[in-house]
Amino acid sequence: MLELKNIKKSFGKVEVLHGVDLEVRAGEVHALLGENGAGKSTLMKVLCGIIQASDGTIKINGEEQHFANYDEAIEAGIGIVFQEFSLIPYLSAFENMFLAREICNRFGLLDRRAMRKRAREILAQLDVELPLNAPVADLSVAEQQFVEIAKALSLEARILVLDEPTATLTPSEVEHLFKVLRELRRKGVAIVFISHHLEEIFEICDRITVLRDGEYVATCDVADVDNDRLVEMMVGRRIEHNFPPRRDLLPKADPVLEVEEIQLARGGPVSSFALRRGEVLGFAGLVGSGRTETALAMLGAHPAARCKMKMEGKEVRFREPADGLAAGIGLLPESRKEQGLITSFSIVRNISINNYAKYARNRFFIDLKKELYCTQEAMSQVSVKANSPFDRLDTLSGGNQQKVVVARWLNHDMKVLIFDEPTRGIDVGAKAEIYHLMRDLTARGCSIIMISSELPEILGMSDRVCVFRDGGIVATVDGSDITSEKIMTYATTGRKENAA
């Protein structure tokens, strides 16, 4: 029914898909599996015409297709339900389903009755009932998802892509969704199902295609594989980066930060962990597993139901990141552009943003000379490459931008630094430099929490690893237990070993 062959995609000079195949039959649920960044979402965007492949062919029912945009893909019978829904929250279910394709009567006015009738028909096919007139914001997440699916079906979609549909559903809602999917399968719809939850894949899917680092690994029948085999296929054997060697931690390094309990949402899991002096503690887990939220909640930048922690034995509570700075905890956020930097400002301004106490003259004024000197010193410590400290941030490469973020914290004697995705979107050389910097910092007695979605990075850098799943820590591993298989198994199933 659907055939993708040898799909390649490059962004700039970086190739992210290296010739991926995917073949989906009518009336099957086909799982697309892979780690974060394996290329699943990119592949689906290519399929939907949102981005164009650099090479390769898309065939639907044997006919070659070229989608210049999303609309053309819809025209060809492809429907996609994104991870983040694209519904308008204040419009009702049927208004959303017919958005931009409203049925009008002969006066050019909305024919609400006809739209409602059609919407009801489609939902009846799915065997779903939901309030058609309420704004979709009032519906449950599962119901919103059904609206999305119904919207796709109202466009006569024969191929339906679901990107992590179960991530935010309760178990009973998942059951309902699966019932709907089975119904659709019976009707001959080809379904591509993206999920990180292996047990779900065993429950609903017929075949599986695994991607890894933008490469096609294999396609197989669900019946022929088990949990361990899938994890192995996802993780694979990979070329190890050259990470700077771990330092031997003092056996009894005292804890700098003890998080006794942290709970993100009421009723959610409660986690605890300790961070020892001079160690790199990795936070591993899938995207959305609560790693970043936990870090932000510690600093008071994200709501938390409960947060109790001790810093060097003293109880602390941070209301805003400024309190954290005063106590010696700093955060290097995951998205540099949105959360880390002021890209329209110069390097000086960006580095000195939280350093003014260092350059104060008469307590109140900025000593411009000292500011410039400290900035250049910090820049050279992390070897930022720029013509002058007055260059605007948006003229620098990603790696240099990240170094500027690091430089900002160097002038403080920080006890704890939280690196959130420290090497995202930067090139290999800059990555190595960031790793060296992190090692240097720990050598100076700073402790580091490193949140990362890149397993090699977690494996190569961490002294210990906390694995997150569904908003909490499911396991903490150290020493020789830090293996990709163990971490992925915890992250995808929450259990140590698949009950084999």
Partner: protein, 328 residues
């Protein structure tokens, strides 16, 4: 892609770059200054009186009230906010000041202090609502604009309060040498604002909030406190403008300053400050305010119908913003 080597940049003390022509042309002051020169020359051509000392000081004196209001407005707009209440707060502040002196028999100094306190209180209220109430600034200050205006009318019964001691007029029409006092007053306030914005951590934090509030907060800037402070500054400058206004009118006018918030915003934006925040200079605001004043003055000198003047001013502002908008 060439991988970064570990070549380190030596710590060499580069000096702050000297202003070069190219850089000067990229300064946000260039366009406002060019506008000021062009408009002045046009006005000078159209009316021979324009470039006389008397007329220039006259223009600056007329500019002073909106000019002072625009100082607070600059702080607010630099953080990406807006303060619509400045005109009304100024009127209330002046009315209370006059009321304290005339109706309650307080000394003039107490009246002035009372007026300033009213301005500060309103500013703090605005700031608290925006920072901790997490409400949009445009709505908060729209509401307090109505509240301030209404309170002034209630307090005064809708009539001007006159009978102030004559020395108060010094603030409005006095002169030191040949320079009008309000002009000196305005220049002093701009100087303080310049120091605050360019030479203190506080000023840098103001810019950083406008540049990227999330980034500023996550790197440890106390964003809420800064916001409280900038709206308070805006309230303070409103009440300082009220002192000049009261001195000129020699009465507390509850109906004064209608629409002044718009002139103040226009001055800030004409001065090259980005309405989205993060970019702009206080000196630009001064230029913008003077530019507006020259337009008013020149169009008057040319004897143009006042209704038409508003249309012309509006068109010129549109044109200025169009030329100065950011290219993306």
């Amino acid at each position: 892609m060439q991988p970064d080597t570990t070549a380190t940049t030596p710590v060499k003390q580069t000096r702050r770059p000297k202003l070069q022509i190219g850089q000067m042309l990229r300064s946000p002051l260039v366009l406002p200054l060019a506008g000021l020169i062009v408009v002045s020359l046009l006005m000078g051509l159209a009316s021979e009186n324009f470039f006389s000392f008397d007329n220039i000081f006259n223009v600056l004196r007329q500019v002073s009230i909106v000019g002072i209001l625009a100082v607070g407005m600059t702080f607010v707009i630099l953080t990406g906010g807006i303060d619509l209440s400045v005109g009304a707060v100024m009127a209330l502040s002046g009315t209370i000041c006059a009321g304290l002196v005339v109706n309650m028999g307080m000394p003039g100094v107490v009246g002035l202090a009372g007026g300033v306190l009213v301005g500060i209180a309103f500013g703090m209220f605005n700031g608290a609502m925006v920072a901790w109430g997490r409400m949009p600034a445009i709505i908060v200050t729209l509401a307090t604009m109505g509240i301030a205006r209404g309170l002034g009318l209630i307090y005064s019964g809708g009539y001007p309060i006159s009978g102030l001691p004559s020395w108060l007029s010094w603030f409005g029409i006095g002169r030191i040498g040949i320079v009008p006092v309000p002009v000196i007053f305005m220049v002093l306030i701009y100087a303080c604002a310049w120091v605050l914005l360019q030479r203190t951590p506080f000023g840098r934090h103001v810019y950083s909030i406008g540049g990227n509030e999330t980034a500023a907060r996550l790197s440890g800037v106390k964003t809420q406190r800064i916001k409280l402070a900038i709206y308070t500054i805006s309230g303070l400058t409103s009440s300082l403008a009220a002192i000049v206004l009261t001195g000129r009118l020699m009465s507390g006018q509850p109906n004064a300053g209608v629409g002044f918030e718009l002139d103040a915003i226009a001055a800030v934006v004409l001065g090259g400050t980005s309405i989205a925040g993060g970019r702009g200079l206080i000196l630009g605001t001064l230029i913008g305010a003077v530019l507006l004043g020259i337009l008013n003055n020149g169009l008057n000198l040319m004897g143009i119908n006042p209704y038409l003047q508003d249309v012309i001013k509006g068109l010129i502002i549109l044109l200025a913003i169009y030329i100065g908008r950011e290219w993306r």
